[in-house]
């Protein structure tokens, strides 16, 4: 009896090995042109299993718990740095990544803050966090010279009081929102002191009654449908809302602006978990993504800039030519980056955010 069982198990195992090779990728939702996935399978003969998540926290918990079963994951820079410190990723074998020469030094230079020497990750997309507005609606309420490109729009209670009735959503992500409030106050957006938190508290408490919702993805639809007139969110998401509104021809005209006071620049990085079942196929996937044409196809689809210099000649004009996606030199200067919050600081930050949201 035992013998038969062992035999069956061995056979099952062999059958599993004989079937096609697999690579499991865990990426943000709505973040790739799905044709690329089919193309990867065709080119390499590897089965691609593609799952999605919608918050860095979710991914981080899986990485720290270990045994996620994924071969490639896509954390944002600050989260990546913490997870590298926790030993969650393996160093990339760059000999397996010939396309790494396509990468853009301007971006690799900045991502090296989170991942020194870019030893553990490659840049997938980068973008800014800023203001999306329904232009005609906001101008109707605040007048022709409404400050749609300034943090005044959402942090000045006088503006927010008027905007409240047509709806304002902000990201439910304190690591994005607190730096913005500090930039508005003219302070260092990366400050993490008690003084900085108190200042952010004061700014948010004044505008809290006028915020209709804290949410990190619903604003795409809400903005496109005209349910709200202002959203503070991620560049590509707001540009997607702009295009959906244009397609729907519903009279909604959405515009994205990186705030003139400075905007947060973030980087989503592809990395390989330390316990990835198939690191070899993971490298193949990274190399495939770093191919100039593939990377361009991804950016043309999701309206985010990428860290791939060679892809730029294949980018559509409404991507490479749009300063909301690829800011010019002067605008690039104004973008700031932030460092991760330590465990104690993170606790104070979460607590402050709960207080801002719930009043408790």
């Amino acid at each position: 009896m035992t013998k038969t069982l062992t035999l069956t198990a061995t056979l099952a195992l062999l059958a599993g090995m004989a079937s096609a090779e697999e690579v499991r990728v865990y990426n943000w939702s709505d973040y790739i042109d799905e044709e690329l996935l089919a193309k990867f399978e065709q080119e390499t003969g590897i089965d691609l299993i593609y799952d999605v998540f919608d918050s860095n926290e979710m991914l981080q918990t899986k990485m720290l718990a270990g045994g996620s079963g994924y071969d490639v994951v896509v954390p944002t820079g600050t989260f990546l740095q913490r997870q590298i410190m926790a030993g969650a990723f393996q160093e990339l074998d760059k000999s397996k990544l010939p396309n790494i020469d396509n990468m853009w030094d301007v971006i690799s230079g900045r991502t090296a803050t989170y991942d020194p020497g870019n030893a553990f990750s490659i840049n997938y997309m980068w973008g800014t966090t800023g203001i999306g507005v329904n232009v005609p609606k906001v101008q109707e309420i605040l007048g022709e010279d409404a400050p749609i490109g300034s943090l005044d729009l959402i942090f000045d209670p006088a503006n927010m009081e008027k905007l409240a009735e047509c709806g304002v959503y902000v990201l439910d992500a304190p690591t994005e929102m607190i730096p913005a409030a500090l930039a508005y106050a003219g302070m260092d957006p990366d400050a993490k002191s008690q003084e900085a938190l108190d200042k952010a508290d004061e700014i948010f408490t004044a505008i809290r009654p006028y915020i209709s919702k804290f949410h990190s993805s619903e604003y795409i639809n809400a903005l496109a449908n005209g349910d709200i007139c202002v959203a503070f969110g991620w560049s590509g998401d707001i540009l997607q809302a702009r295009d959906r509104a244009a397609e729907a021809e519903n009279g909604v005209e959405v515009a994205y602006n990186a705030p003139s006071e400075g905007a947060l620049m973030w980087f989503d990085q592809m990395a390989i978990p330390v316990d990835a079942p198939n690191p070899d196929a993971a490298h193949k996937f990274l190399n495939f993504i770093m191919d100039a044409q593939n990377m361009a196809a991804a950016s043309n689809y999701v309206y985010y800039a990428n860290g791939n210099k060679a892809s730029q000649e294949f980018l559509a004009e409404d991507v490479i030519g749009d300063t909301a996606i690829y800011p010019d030199e002067a605008a690039l200067e104004k973008l700031y980056t932030v460092t991760p919050w330590g465990p104690k600081e993170q606790r104070l930050l979460t607590r402050l955010w709960t207080k801002i949201k719930s009043g408790t």
């Binding site: 926290e57 720290l64 718990a65 709960t354």
Partner: protein, 296 residues
Amino acid sequence: MRRFSLIAVPYLWLLALFLVPFLIVIKISLSDVAYASPPYVPQLDLTQGWAGLHDFFAALDFENFAFLTTDALYWKAYLSSLKIALVATALTALVGYPVAYGMARAPQEWRPTLLMLVILPFWTSFLIRVYSWMGILSNEGVLNQVLLATGIISEPLQIMNTNTAVYIGIVYTYLPFMVLPIYAALEKLDESLLEAAEDLGCSRLAAFWLVTFPLSRGGIVAGCFLVFIPAIGEFVIPSLLGGSDTLMIGKVLWEEFFSNTDWPVASAVAVILLALLIIPIVLFQRHEEKEREANR
């Protein structure tokens, strides 16, 4: 011997699937947060023998439980969850009783079908059912559209993202857990008792309050516990239907676990929640036992 092995199965089940995980949660609640995978220390290192075991236990402490008392957020969240669960349980009983009563009074041949209809929603994912409530309750949702079109209201009702939506969600989701035990109690009710009451001059209403209701009390109590206990720790319903200001312990736990990556404090919150729930669970157990004895 055979009897022993028969009892052993459920006990082993409880031991493996309840007690062991719970002990692991208690252990984590006594640990300290760390940047590591998994994100807490100490880790039990058995290669060090007795010394390792000693070091491991020496590093455990009740710091995280003490921390929970330093911030009003936690007890406010427990209280608010308690309130939401109590109100939702009462509402579920009010809605569930007439449904169960109607089913029990329906002609015999209809009852299996009615019972089926109560159970049917379980065939669809719980998450999808809560999502569809978003489509019904939102400002552009079905409910507001109908009310606006018929001219009953001129402005959409703000139900979505409020506590009202959370109550609706809980009542809807847990209704079968209330209906089924009440139905079971009402169905075995001896109808001749009602006839006797009416023969003795009771009005139908008086007969209901004097005979039917007291005899179905067992079902009501069972239903209330089955709704209250899971509702207090509910996370999905408040996070999908509730507003940013809906305070529930499930959400606080989520933030400790995911936002702060503080598994030890998250575990401490969970341990206290369980301790709070043990009281109603023990009461429920006693009630069940009494019922069983009464029916003997």
